[in-house]
Symmetry: C2
Subunit: 197 residues, 2 copies
DNA sequence: CCACTATGAGACAGGTTGACTCACAATGCC
DNA sequence: GGCATTGTGAGTCAACCTGTCTCATAGTGG
């Protein structure tokens, strides 16, 4: 990344603005993120917000991106044991995803992505980023599970993500439920049964 | 329904406005639905739109409700055969749901519900309506499948909806895929395997 | 110490929002 | 058919929001 020598004033106000933007997103959804609201919330001049993001979409995307940091990888021991018992690693990532979904901030990002992806190009890209992030984090464990004979040979990370993440998203955004640990366990086990060889 | 004696002028303009509102929703998402836009599209005075829906939320909810008519029941023969073979009825409803998801109009409604339900009370109610509609349409077939020994005794319509509708929603709104008939078949079969006794 | 540059404040035109009025024409009733 | 009722379209208006610009100020790097 071209981390150009940045003026501390720039990074300071940028940080304040991004923080304000994600807070607004969390509290009121995408529509609540406007130049004016961000300026007020960040204690920054309105012109400054326009200087950093000339258009509304860019501003909103910045809020969304900041609100969805990458999932952290499974701890070393879980990953090491994955060859023998892939379930633990799968559960690890999906639990993390669930905490994200239950968390207001990342939940707001996901909701915005689900709800707005089709009307906008930048949102499309963001949707793809989120999707790739989720699928790729599951991929090693899925591959291991296939190798270990726990899943059919033709099951891909994409398929597995569909049968696990799908139900979780459904529960959270359509059924309006909170996602406990047992929910993750149930979903993973159901998926393992569904795609057992 | 209290179908009060309505002035034909009222119903005429109301109809035009609702049609315009759903069209706008379909094309540009919830944000595109405003009093002004609806008035222009419906060929109606701006004041008229305000007269019918004093606040923006009400207007948008009207657009959403009109864009999501109830699922039609399975044909007689499929329902009759459901005791013996429940799979066909399940597939029937989920196929219909898929067509809806692929359809721009109902897809827009679902997307709006997924994306905006948490920030608003009226949207919460709409989410519940949509959810209930889906789950209830599956319920008879799920009950039949349980009775027939195709599903575990403890599988409810809610659970089954989660494991089928979830993946479909995932494919459509997160993976950005179109939903073919084979996708429905695969999802239903996976769910039947996952919850087989 | 000085040139540079990001910032905050404010001015400004253009558009949108809601609330209001008023003439008009479609409607329902007699 | 005539008439009171009522929904409507057009228009006005103040308040607000948006996007752009200017300018004095102060933090920054050399």
């Amino acid at each position: 990344m071209p981390e150009e020598r940045a003026d501390p004033r720039q990074v300071r106000s940028r940080e304040a603005m991004v923080t304000a933007a994600t807070a607004l997103l969390t509290e009121g959804g995408l529509e609540a993120v406007t130049h004016q609201a961000v300026a007020a919330r960040a204690g920054v001049g309105r012109a400054t917000v326009y200087r950093h993001w000339a258009d509304l979409l860019g501003l909103r995307l910045a809020a969304l991106e900041a609100g969805m940091p990458p999932l952290s990888p499974a701890p070393e021991d879980v990953r090491a044991a994955s060859g023998a018992e892939p379930r633990a690693e799968l559960v690890h990532y999906l639990r993390q995803l669930c905490e994200r979904l239950d968390d207001a901030q990342a939940g707001a990002v996901l909701a915005a992505v689900l709800g707005g992806a089709q009307y906008d190009d930048g949102m499309q890209r963001l949707r793809l980023t989120v999707l790739t992030q989720i699928v790729d984090s599951l991929r090693p464990a899925v591959t291991a599970a296939v190798a270990r004979g726990r899943l059919r040979a033709d099951v891909t990370a994409e398929t597995f993500a569909m049968t696990t993440v799908g139900p979780l998203v459904y529960q959270r955004f359509l059924a309006g439920a909170r996602l406990g640990r047992d929910m993750v366990d149930a979903v993973v086990d159901a998926a393992l049964r569904a795609w057992a060889p």
